[in-house]
Symmetry: C2
Subunit: 346 residues, 2 copies
């Protein structure tokens, strides 16, 4: 029985750090376990230019506590006005590692996202040319499409046409939630990967809606039925290098979650690595955890695997995690898997 | 163009009035428009005996403001310990009009409900003998059944077997939410009816989960996808006498809705009749509203249609409804259809 597992230090390939006081409060939660993270650009206003990304990177590094090391991998928020030359320059300088596509209205702070995909074609073609990945929030936003169908419909109506009309474009399907997402990645040989969140490996939609409505389990894309969770588990633990960790950890204060219109996002930065150890152990796949959390992501992004390590230790008694992170804006509830976890990470 | 419609005074065939201060606060909202209502027995502790139902009826009548008239139609909460003789006596005296079946754990205050249906067989057989309807919360509670499948699975696994093994038992499927529920009613000739809520005619599950999680749209059974809402609309406006209004109006204070685990229930007592006028007008079926709200229910229950009337009036400007009802326990949010309503009821 494995009681301790040391892996290359993991990275988080999809992370929301926010800005200001919230950034300062939540950054140490990620930097404690992760060496790098792809930083989502959906601030208010969004990070749309190289100059804005550079300034945001500087604010992140300034917020890092003494004694922690962390490398933010910056992204630009794709809008219909994004300038291909600015994107190329930010990539050439090493500043940005990806561009993020939000369909307009799909999730938190996505109002500046793309409505007309033809308008971003020049940017996508430039990205294909220079090898810069496109990170995709894969949901259509049509009012008449059921929320649980929106990922599968996006693949058919938007993603597959974009990929076919932009040969060589490298795409990461972010936070996939469906068997259709898994299957789409597996059916493509090149230039396509997917991140999977911690919480989508753990909850299905029953967790949100049975016995009361639970806003702290609400994120977008919303968790689907159990068969989809099982498909995500199988993909994450399979060893297939096209699937890698992107927590989508997203802090919202409790008043913004427990409200008449609660914000979308689960905050998993604090306990993701212990939770993943639990999940991979449950599935008899602890030997695949390093690939999922530490190796597959750098491989996709063409970056080196971290030299540092992280050690996961299983204890005889359940580990204790903070229920909430205190921030100047208010408490942020840490994702609760609903069962005891015996692993810690150091 | 109809600007005014006078119908026999409606009844509400599924209503939660609670007790104490909440009862006093919400009862006038129902009594303003409805002559009678089937009163749900899921208090804490539940109303399980004839004596408890008589005492609850007295508390309801004592809470009625001067100038309002209202007849509570009492029900008993079916438990595995329910005494068939007590049920029969409460029915013979005219006190109760139905018995309510909650599968254990299905919704608010249902912990005393039925887990082993064989244990309630003597009660069901007695009810069939005396013609007392069984009101059914039609959802299985098995953890491994997806919440959106629970009504359809209940019909197959529980309701249909109960009805087949208890000939003559009159059943009301409460607050049906699915095309399967509609089809099951329509495929049976005798002894089966269904109530439909106001909110299930208006919202689908996208309203709960798109663009934020909205606890005031959360009820159990939870709203399903759009095709099911359309099936309910078609059933309600069809004129088929087996479908009738049961609002399931259920007051919860805002702090109990906007929480880490929000309570199930929509409060529609205040504006149900204006909303129904809007819905039936939209579907070109204003001539069917009286059947749905005022005639089909009494017919099923073997009670006279009310002699009094209610007049619905359409105005040139949107009608104004209170956003919340103030209660000593806290504010209760009134169901918001999300669009302007031009009808009032007097």
């Amino acid at each position: 029985m494995i009681q301790s597992l040391t892996i290359a230090r993991p990275d988080d390939w999809h992370l929301h750090l926010r800005d200001g006081a919230m950034l300062t409060a939540v950054l140490p939660e990620t930097a404690r376990h992760f060496a790098r993270a792809i930083i989502m650009p959906n601030l208010v206003p969004p990070v749309v230019t190289g100059a804005q990304a550079a300034a945001y990177r500087d604010r992140i590094l300034a917020a890092l506590p003494a004694g922690q090391t962390f490398e933010p991998l910056m992204t630009l928020y794709l809008t219909e006005d994004t300038d291909p030359a600015d994107v190329a320059a930010a990539h050439a300088s090493g500043l940005i590692k990806a561009v993020k596509l939000y369909p307009a209205g799909a999730t938190t702070n996505s109002a500046s996202g793309v409505g007309d995909f033809d308008k971003v074609r020049p940017v996508l073609e430039k990205m294909a040319e220079i090898g810069l990945p496109l990170c995709v929030h894969g949901e259509v936003t049509d009012a008449d499409i059921d929320i649980f169908d929106r990922e599968a419909v996006f693949i058919d109506r938007v993603l597959d046409p974009i990929r076919k009309s932009t040969p060589g474009l490298r795409v990461v399907m972010e936070h996939i939630t469906t068997a259709e997402g898994v299957d789409y990645v597996k059916s493509n040989d090149h230039d396509l990967g997917a991140t999977i969140t911690t919480h989508h490996l753990i909850i299905n939609r029953n967790h949100i809606l049975v016995g009361g409505i639970k806003p702290h389990y609400y994120c977008l894309p919303v968790a689907k039925r159990e068969i989809h969770r099982l498909a995500l588990r199988a993909a994450a633990t399979s060893g297939d290098a096209r699937f890698f960790l992107g927590t989508d950890s997203a802090p919202h204060t409790d008043p913004n979650k427990e409200s008449a219109c609660g914000c979308a996002g689960c905050f998993t930065a604090t306990n993701t690595m212990p939770l993943l150890a639990h999940v991979f152990e449950q599935d008899g796949a602890l030997d695949k955890l390093e690939g999922f959390a530490s190796r597959n992501g750098p491989t996709f992004y063409g970056l080196p695997v971290n030299n540092e390590t992280l050690t996961l230790t299983k204890h005889a008694q359940p580990a204790s995690f903070p229920a909430k992170i205190d921030t100047p804006d208010g408490p942020v509830t840490v994702f609760d898997p609903g069962y005891p976890v015996y692993w810690t990470a150091t």
